[in-house]
């Protein structure tokens, strides 16, 4: 029997304990799931959408988005707070289905922005501005977005999940092997590219906090 791992490291300890208990005790899950504190080897990673801290799940699996803002009836890999047994089991079921499909087809999905998300891109967040700009120009997975912009993957996942909830994204299938080949931005390339040097010089001159390399 295939076993799946859910990383619960980003959740508050009381919620992590609750999830561990439900997974251990639920007969509906049939022992197919176990929890982990390591994102790197997990099939799925609980992402605390309400938390503001930078993420540490750059190498994690599929996101299980946890938030007090989800409605109970919402479908997908979303878990509403307060965490309930039926909600968790349903969300894990969705994840299980995605993992099975991904495993069988090696297919992941890329998202692209359909229109500018005015409310999500404010003057206070350069990261959101940069993520929205990339998504307005090219289809990306959260992992690709994170690599392109050198941002934490869970920040990209949270941003994309929020956009998806409000219907700003359109999705397309992508070949996983191609997606994984995207190189991380090279520091050497950043230094030598005239275009990047120019952008860095403008940012530095105008006092922008991001990407002055």
């Amino acid at each position: 029997m295939k076993k799946y791992k859910l990383c619960v490291a980003s959740l508050p300890s009381n919620e992590a304990s609750l999830v561990r208990s439900i997974i251990r005790l639920s007969s509906e899950l049939g022992g197919r799931w176990e929890t982990s504190d390591q994102a790197e080897d997990a099939d799925a990673v609980a992402v605390d959408v309400d938390a503001k801290q930078d993420g540490t799940f750059a190498n994690g699996g599929l996101p299980l988005m946890v938030s007090r803002n989800w409605r109970e009836a919402q479908s997908g890999a979303l878990l509403a707070r307060p965490i309930r047994v039926d909600g968790l089991i349903a969300a894990l079921g969705v994840l299980e289905g995605k993992l099975n499909i991904d495993s069988a087809n090696s297919v992941i999905r890329r998202a692209k922005l359909m229109r500018w998300p005015v409310q999500h891109v404010s003057s206070g967040s350069s990261s959101n501005l940069r993520m929205a700009t990339v998504l307005s120009r090219m289809s990306c997975t959260a992992g690709e977005l994170a690599k392109r912009l050198s941002l934490p993957q869970d920040a990209c996942e949270r941003f994309m999940a929020a956009l998806d909830q409000e219907g700003f994204l359109t999705w397309e299938a992508a070949d996983q092997s191609v997606a994984e080949q995207l190189p991380a931005p090279s520091p050497v390339q950043s230094v030598t590219s005239p275009g990047k040097r120019l952008l860095g010089a403008i940012r530095q001159r105008l006092g922008f906090s991001w990407g002055s390399a």
Partner: protein, 179 residues
Amino acid sequence: MKEYKILFTGTVGAGKTTAIGAISETPTVSTDVANLDETVAKASTTVGFDFGIITLEGGDRIRLFGTPGQGRFDFMWKILIQDAMGLIILIDNSRPAPLEDLNIYLDGFADALKKVPCVCGIGRTEQNRSPSLDDFSRHLERRGLLLPIFPVDVRKREDVLLLIEALLAQLECNLMETE
């Protein structure tokens, strides 16, 4: 020393001259004359172009140009947009038909929009909530365009800088696509 260009365009009274002045390191060179358009409450209006400068480390310069707003000067738009690294469209939301105003510039710069990064700044949104920023976003979507949109008070340097930041984010994407 290299020179680059960012172009500010938009409706009469939207604040192109003020926006350039908010970030230029030199006093804006202006070609304003007395305003004879009674529909716009301002004493003077730009008939040539405004001009400001930002000097980068190493001596390279960003030249900031503001176009005249009136459609009858659209022949100058095509000249000024040549070789621009970015276009900023400023719309005054207190005017009678802001979405139609936006169309004038989207049409006037249609060719440039295929390759030049562009951002829209909407002014006076607090006093004039309709159309909303989301209305602008959907309007662009209907036209097959996806451009960053921000509320802007051109008297505030940080608001103008946000528009520049949005252009830089698009230029960053251009680099990703070519590298």
